[in-house]
Symmetry: C2
Subunit: 334 residues, 2 copies
Amino acid sequence: MPENLSVPLAALDAADRALVDGVLARQLRPLAKTITLIESQRDDHKARARAVLEALLPSTGRAMRVGISGVPGVGKSTFIEALGLYLIEQGLRVAVLAVDPSSSVTGGSILGDKTRMEQLSQNTAAFIRPSPSACSLGGVAEKTRETMLVCEAAGFDVVIVETVGVGQSETAVAGMTDIFCLLQLPNAGDDLQAIKKGIMEIADLIVINKADIDPSAAMRAKSQIKTALHMLRPMSPNWTVPVLTLSALKQDGIAEFWQQVMEYRAVLTKSGEFDAKRRHQALAWMWDMIDAGLRSRFRQHPQVKHELPQLAQAVEAGSTTPSAAALRLLGYMN
Amino acid sequence: MPENLSVPLAALDAADRALVDGVLARQLRPLAKTITLIESQRDDHKARARAVLEALLPSTGRAMRVGISGVPGVGKSTFIEALGLYLIEQGLRVAVLAVDPSSSVTGGSILGDKTRMEQLSQNTAAFIRPSPSACSLGGVAEKTRETMLVCEAAGFDVVIVETVGVGQSETAVAGMTDIFCLLQLPNAGDDLQAIKKGIMEIADLIVINKADIDPSAAMRAKSQIKTALHMLRPMSPNWTVPVLTLSALKQDGIAEFWQQVMEYRAVLTKSGEFDAKRRHQALAWMWDMIDAGLRSRFRQHPQVKHELPQLAQAVEAGSTTPSAAALRLLGYMN
């Protein structure tokens, strides 16, 4: 980027320089402190976080980013613990993050309690961080994405981002990871209605967990899901979404899962789609932030604030057209 | 709407008053002229169109709005002609519009040639209008939605909005109609992959056309589609998406199709969802226009115009973060 276009950064003072150096030296304390800085709502912290992030940026991008979703009870924690321990056995370092937009309200339903992944959390090659709290999904997702970059700079080879299906959180996680994996229960039939609209369509890999409990039900579910997937146009012309059955509890099928993730990376890297997806994600992220910023300014304009509720009501009631209302409100932004 | 919040309208001069009166009197010439005014890109025409629309507004909202989509070759024209003629037989007046975002480039692939619906286009109870040309899908959809309102004011009982699956055009059409119908070919198996991601999920009704050619293939397709639908959470708790087989060419199954549309309206009207959907659509429309307006102003800012290409490139290349780029560009909007 030409020098004259660089964003004016807060000066990287000694303390922040120490954070950057500590992260790059793969030290856990500076890592945790940097993430806390990123999650802070204070304006001075935001400026410092931006400066630290920019300094770390050249050291990011080397991890495999894996999104994991599935309804509560599907066994996400058990799966992530089994996967994490397997990866550590292979000599890899693993970071586990979460996007849980309900965490602001409820205090967080996932990863809030590290005892849920007891073995993994005690392993020095693993780093587990619960979902940030923020007022909006956009805020949560933004902070998680930046935390992911910090983890990459700290040399983690795999970053796992977990989410429960709250709001549009799956879309947000799919938009920040290289591969999005959906965990399913083996109950065939009605329970599969729990597959939320649109989620199966953004999955790159589907896992039927707890297959040991009722193997024949798991096979039925697999066949049903394959049929459903068959009706959807694939995201990539080079990748047919695999449906795997496994048991995270018995650590059965974890190696095969990871083999598929690696296969996915190899195929999409070869076709150029892997890098294209990352470039596209970064750009889409920028536009999301721009749109959010523009809308936030719009809503804060005193005249808009004053008239929006009544105009929205008039549009709903059909007494004015959406375009007339939009034009009137936009007029104040000149 | 309180008087002080009304949007300042262009004065309704004698010519425009004549247009309004003509539309309300159900005359086709003023109807066509009003639509031409709506489709015009000229600023003075836009102001006049807004005034005419506002004057027509109290007379809108009474038509059943039916969206029809399906890949080229599925038989949309034949289906719409058969449906239109059936509805006219029932004493109804039918308007057929189109949303084809490719029309700006190609001159339009649907409804451009009225001979495709020869009988319907010659019937005085029918009004067929090809897709407007505009530079963006948003523009095309906006004009079509406003045209739909004009048709309603002109007393049409049913407005059919046709689309081919270009870009997000199906979502746009589903967002302006009461019921969104997806036409499918009876080829089971591989050809069903042509269902675009997310389209089946917004369908309220699925029609397998050309069922006469291979009835057993049509039944297999029906069963496959039903299985796939079963995996999706329904849009309404009160409506299970029906899958119908029919032959538009032989005019076989058209009455059953319309019966399902009426059933849909009855069920959702009873539950309150019908009106709620329209209110929600109007509000979403307003926000779409606001977002588009904000982004357009943003893009026109000289500094943004100057720096956006390079910053976007830097974000794609990973040499700056999306947030830093967004913050820098948003800074110019103060």
